[in-house]
Subunit: 175 residues, 2 copies
DNA sequence: GGCCAACCGTCCGAAACGGACGGTCCGAAG
DNA sequence: CTTCGGACCGTCCGTTTCGGACGGTTGGCC
């Protein structure tokens, strides 16, 4: 049995949600959904399905004509593996990767003026992201996708938390 | 000139903050500071300083006796590089990596009972993390490290946001 | 002197990363 | 009818990251 990484489950999950998909489909779908909270280089959306197919978790079908795209669909055992993972307890705490936070942490080394600039940039960035999220919420206000929109609420909470923080930092560093 | 990654700046910044350090020192220091918001495999704390030394950004000195540990300190040009980075605008948005969020996103595939379990686990995890952070705040309530404690406030904000979300989700999925 | 726990460092295979590259299809403009 | 550009689609490859296994050292305590 192959070792399944989180990467694998993202692919599995995506195919399960969307139905049969080509890597390119997945790429776009990831881009405006799961990609917001789990970074995913596109090249893996071509290689990972191959591994999963070899493991019997995905099934492949190739177009007869034209571009001969390959479409993947989830197999019984793929669905089973996915569900097993979903049911398992989750031990890992989330990981952040925030360059701004890093720079803030090392701020002692430098002029505090830059902290203010950093804070202002971050305020702008998070406001922008919040606007995007709210726009998505509006556009997908349909019962069909309601369940997968829950995640957006978490995203929004996080964004607002960050925004609050950087805003207050910007205020505190006012001259 | 070598290409500097964020990894490089973490090492540079750490040495700048702590003064001369061995990789092992860095490992422990990272473990209870920057490691909370930027994951860092220890092996890199041995290899990266080597690269940085080759680039002239760190300086090395080796113990004469006993274990012959190597201690790195930051050079003038290292400090300059670090400050340059700190002053640069930050374009990237933070990245999250949250398995729980992924599972939530794919929840449609599965029984909603598992969503509740997930939420409860997450509530516990975030409460624990918050307690850790608050403990750190209490222990390091000294002017000497005040500036680098700011980051904790952001961490706490994020944790509380997540906690709020998972708590409300747990309530909503109550039977 | 022996033993254990913390200390310290290396190595290596497997993923992940990301960006350059190259081809294909289709509609619109000339 | 031809050309052209933009979206579409996929591969490749060198570099970094990852993480965990492994192994040696040191000092204090029994």
């Amino acid at each position: 049995m192959v070792r399944l990484s989180t990467t694998s489950y993202v692919v599995l999950g995506m195919v399960a949600l969307r139905g049969p998909s080509t890597p390119y489909d997945l790429k776009r779908a990831v881009g405006h959904s799961v990609g917001y909270f789990w970074h995913f280089p596109h090249a893996q959306l071509y290689s990972e399905p191959k591994r999963l197919t070899a493991a019997g978790l995905l099934e492949v079908s190739t177009e007869e004509t034209g571009r001969r795209r390959t479409t993947y669909s989830i197999s019984e055992s793929g669905l089973a593996a996915l569900r097993k993972w979903l049911a398992e307890p989750t031990h890992e705490h989330f990981q952040m990767r925030d360059v701004a936070e890093l720079k803030l942490f090392f701020n002692e080394v430098d002029d505090s003026r830059h902290v203010r600039e950093l804070a202002l940039e971050q305020v702008a960035a998070h406001e922008k992201r919040i606007a995007e999220y709210e726009d998505m919420q509006r556009r997908f206000d349909q019962p069909a996708v309601a369940r997968r929109m829950i995640t957006l609420r978490l995203g929004l909470e996080m964004e607002h938390a960050a925004l609050r923080f950087w805003r207050s930092l910007a205020e505190e560093t006012e001259d």
